[in-house]
Symmetry: C2
Subunit: 130 residues, 2 copies
């Protein structure tokens, strides 16, 4: 029976395979973060403003996120004018938290450098101030 | 005299403009993190292994990083065989630490969500374990 390879040979430590391109793209990262912070959902124009995107750009990114089942878009018929409401899905929240854990790992790995002790100090300061 | 706009109107809070595409691309993020953690530099084959990249891929990404003056590549002539050594530049280190501060902000913003208290707990656990 062959022995399993040591973990270091299977997973390159700086490959960060968990940084899924669908979530990692800057605009989509912003949209997902805004939706994670607002679990009840946000209307299209609010996301546009929060993320500093144009109509066309936001529409394109929402399409990608919806196709990946990370978000769901519902049309509200409450008002006379229809309004699109975007929500992060339960599965999307789970996957995005997984993505964020990889980002944490990047920060922790960066922190192994002697001159980046200030990164650690800065994270701690931010967290303690909350 | 016109009053300055409040900050919230000038900088969309989820735009993350500091996530420079040159550094944000997954493979390049891995390369830069590995070089930040090894300030004396790393030879090409070591980076390739640490980041799980092919020769062609790594060469292409190093070219982009070098063109942006984030890294410098020197040819060692110590051995009979020439070896390329890559180092993060002083300016590159400064810019990459700025990029990492924006990543921290993403984690902190994600953390405003009620159900992501565990993100904060996880970051703290990681940091305290070091």
């Amino acid at each position: 029976m062959k022995r399993a390879k040591p973990k270091s040979q299977r997973t390159p430590p700086f490959a960060y395979e968990g940084l899924d391109r669908v979530m990692h793209e800057r605009a989509r990262l912003g949209v997902l973060t805004s939706l994670l912070a607002h679990p009840k959902g946000l209307p299209f124009p609010v996301i546009k403003k929060l993320c500093g995107l144009t109509d066309g750009n936001l529409a394109r990114h929402l399409e990608v996120l919806e196709a990946s089942r990370l978000i769901e878009i519902t049309k509200s018929t409450e008002d006379a004018r229809r309004q699109s409401l975007c929500r992060i899905t339960a599965d999307g929240r789970k996957r995005f938290l997984g993505y964020l854990a990889v980002l944490e790992q990047v920060l922790l790995d960066a922190n192994t450098s002697p001159e980046s002790d200030d990164v650690r100090a800065r994270i701690l300061r931010h967290l303690e101030a909350r």
